[in-house]
């Protein structure tokens, strides 16, 4: 059996020092993703640095550089965050996204930081007997031409077609959340939309973080749109399944007309996909079925599908239309 060193860091500085200085060290949060990967042989670190007791478990309102934010500690459990009264009232999209993820047991265990940093999902990545550019750069992508029902339709490359599985991160992308990161050079703020990356020719890199960077928290800016927000997850079974597609949306109307709209999609790309072309197409217009469909199609102009993923386009049209009509107070029935 492989020996694995386990260290419990007592503060952020110690944690960052322990991992930064050791290329074979990894942070351990809730463990819901990493422990699976250890069992499957995908991740083979020599040392785990437990960051579960760094005191990063508060949820509090703060004044940020660009206004009032809700600061969420990296170790806040998914279940606690979903139930938090301020999250439920000011960021309902986040609460709903969290509650649609995984199972009750996993949500109790999973942390905010860990949820953001879970790896993309693909059956071939999970199976070390098959080639995978994410696991072994240059070995090839088994998913291209293989099982592809969950694959990306936006922003994929010939090297990787995997999708990011987080629901929470999709909501945070719609909310323009900012990730607070502590690295060797101190603290910095990374917009969540710039945290995850597209695969390009480096699918082994899921995020823009450097080795040793530690997510210490997430800042959620209070906005009017965020108050009027929701999440719709489309999946085969009614619970405990990854999204086929998902929609996080926030809407602020000026009379009948869209003043501010944020749309992010899950299950379609290597990262939570902010649908900016769709947002632009809708801004200044009334929300109706035709307008939303046209806006979605504007975003999907860049989509590339296979026989196995073609369904995601009409599913996105339907799910996005249903979500925005509901937010606009128009009974979509």
């Amino acid at each position: 059996m492989r020996e694995l060193d386990y260290v419990r860091a007592s503060d952020v500085e110690e944690a960052v020092a322990l991992v930064s200085g050791d290329p074979d060290a990894r942070y351990l949060g809730g463990g819901t993703n990493l422990v699976d990967h250890l069992k499957l042989g995908i991740a083979r670190p020599a040392r785990l640095v437990d960051v579960g007791r760094l005191g990063l478990d508060g949820v509090e309102e703060q004044d940020g550089p660009d206004g009032r934010v809700l600061h969420v500690g990296a170790n806040v459990r998914n279940s606690d965050l979903a139930a938090h009264p301020v999250v439920r009232s000011a960021f309902p999209v986040l609460s709903r996204a969290l509650l649609s993820g995984a199972s009750g047991q996993l949500r109790h265990q999973a942390s905010t930081g860990g949820n953001l940093l879970q790896r993309t999902r693909c059956v071939y990545f999970q199976d070390v007997t098959t080639p995978c550019n994410k696991r072994e750069p240059g070995s090839g992508c088994s998913a291209v031409g293989g099982y592809g029902r969950q694959d990306a339709v936006l922003g994929a490359s010939e090297h990787c077609v995997a999708t990011h599985p987080s629901d929470m991160a999709v909501a945070m992308a719609a909310l323009d959340a900012v990730v607070v990161v502590r690295g060797r050079q101190g603290e910095r703020r990374v917009p969540v939309r710039e945290l995850h990356r597209l695969p390009g020719d480096r699918p082994d890199l899921d995020t823009t973080l450097e080795h040793g960077d530690l997510v210490t928290g997430v800042e959620l800016p209070f906005t009017d749109a965020a108050r009027c927000s929701t999440y719709l997850k489309v999946r085969d079974r009614a619970s405990y399944a990854f999204a086929l597609v998902s929609v996080a949306a926030a809407l602020e109307l000026d009379g009948d007309v869209v003043r501010d709209v944020r749309i992010a999609w899950g299950g379609v790309a290597h990262k939570p996909w902010r649908a900016t072309a769709a947002e632009e197409a809708l801004t200044g217009r009334a929300v109706d079925e035709d307008a939303v469909r046209a806006a979605v199609d504007a975003e999907l102009a860049a989509a590339r599908t296979t026989d196995q993923t073609a369904y995601k386009l009409p599913m996105l049209r339907g799910a996005t239309t249903r979500t925005l009509l509901r937010l606009a107070g128009k009974d979509p029935s």
């Binding site: 059996m1 059956v123 999946r235 079974r237 009614a238 009409p314 599913m315 339907g318 799910a319 979509p332």
Partner: protein, 706 residues
Amino acid sequence: MSTRTSTTPVTPRSMGTRLDRVDGPEKVTGRATYAVESAAHDTGDPLHVWLVQSTVAKGEVERLDPAAALAHPGVVAVLDHTSAMRLADTDDGELAILQDPRVHFRGQVVALVLAETSEAAREGAALVEVSYREEPHEAELREDNATYRPETVNPAMDTDTEDGDVDAALAGAAVLVEQTYRTPHEHNNPMEPHATVARWAQDGTSGEVLDLVDSTQGVHGVAQTVGPVLGLEATQVRVRAPYVGGGFGSKGQPHAHVVAAALAAHAVRPRPVRLAVTRQQMFALTGYRTATISHVRLGADADGRLVGLEHRVQEQTSAVKEFAEQTASPSRMMYAAPARRTSHRLAVLDVAVPSWMRAPGEMPGMFAGEVAMDELALACGLDPVELRLRNEPDLDPETGKPFDVRRLPDCLRRGAERFGWADRPREPRSRRVGDWWVGTGVAAATYPAMKMPGNEARVTALGGGRYGVAIGCVDIGTGARTVLTQIAADALGVDPGAVDLEVADTRLPSASVAGGSSGTSSWGSTVVAAAQRFREEHGPDPAAGAEVTASAAKSPAETETANHSFGAVFCEARVNRWTGEVRVPRLLGVYSVGRVLNPVTARSQLVGGLVMGLSAALFEESWRDPRTGHVVTQDLASYHVAAHADVLDVDAEWLEESDEAFTPMGSRGIGEIGIVGTAAAVANATHHATGVRVRELPLTPDRFLS
């Protein structure tokens, strides 16, 4: 010693009552020991075995280097085809592992790693370096390659049947439905993965040589199958299966891992070994249901009476061992079409070996047949219940015999009444509630009533009014222990608390497999035979130690009538107009299954079957990558089974009846019928909801989006 005994019907006292599971306390307190746990209790300090599996679909092991594995701390041995014990019989290609370098399918066992801990064995297995000389393989079932005609289909049925002039009947039919239906590969996935603990005697030339604790549906079957493979008499193999966490057919016969455990234990005899198959390994090694393609033609007259029926099946088997699912079999006996043709053709592929999965044959076959009947009802302008009633046969169309009991009409009428079927709009796509299209569907269910040969039971007076009853059958979680206790009590005329039942050990009188819905019928009839003979010989007040071993004579029904259970499944389905998601708020099955011996355990069987059918309808699909022959959906995150939130109002009801012509208990068997027809009922309901006819399982959201 054993006497074949005719039985008389048993007066029910405990039978039919809600006796709590006799092994419930052990299970809920964690004291029930499953196969891998047994090692610590009574087989000593075991070595752990990990399977090394082929990563190519066809070819030969060119070089297998165990050095790195052997150098790993804790690893004791690596066995491969050059070092494993020679098997005495290699005819069964699934079981003949480590005998030659040939690779027949991806995931085949090519080596075993033995280590002091499970972790070391697993790491050792990852360190074994294997290179292959790969050969081209075929791993995809298609219509153009499924052309092989097997001698028989499972278990020993005719491959093809033809009655009357089918082509002429169909050509002259007023209404014709001609469609193709598909079901995917499905994996059984019992909650407890397969596991075996094995120990060889140091030098056993007589008596018991090999001791197995196995998670199996039949201990005697394991001994009878594995013994000769290893060069042993069945009597030289002791097999126990004290508790088993489900099987659904995948533990009905020993798979390669049982031989692997025996080979590993032989190499380190007399030390025991423990082999736990992982969930991922189950997708290659422990059986699955083949994908099926059913070409169905139904011809009817203007009143909806069938004049001709054709059901041609294409499916797959593996090159290394044949298994031909009897998918068209229910079409042979279901309805009164005067002209009928059925056939089975297989693609012989370089893939893992398919096997039994709950209601082999009936499950995929009735999906095709019962969706086709729904299409016929629409084409004839008839209510789907009425169409089925009009096609009730007087005699079994297949054998020409009368049916023992055929109460499908009662099931349909009772189900329709309770479900509120009459309220349904005739036209599809008629009802929408909020975001959801709502529809209802119905399908019939059937499953043959079977008794297996090879059963004996022993009754012993223990004194003080207590009785020992012994039969080597396995309770795989169905409640067999409980129900057999009830049967024995009633047959002896005592309280269930006065019966000490022993099961699940080859040292006990032999018993047939817990499969084919035959367990309670086979074992129960045998227990009744032994109990009644015991009373005949020893009277109401026997001396302690009085003992009888007996088997049951065939009942008249077994030769004179066609014996089947029937049911009707009613489903309400909702399909989301925006996303295509399918949800099933209501599912009801009404069954004619003979006497229900215990309403609690029977309800679990029937509702469990309905839930498994719902799961197959909506979710289950094993996706094999034709490039590698590998099932890539090899965990429960990618192979979806129904979760709690999917299972809403699911209920089963049974008709009051007693089939004493078939068994002295009046029962007929309930293990499989709940899964039969269920997927068709769901598919028919989604069509009624949306107007979209889906002829392929599973009914995933993408199929309802245009």
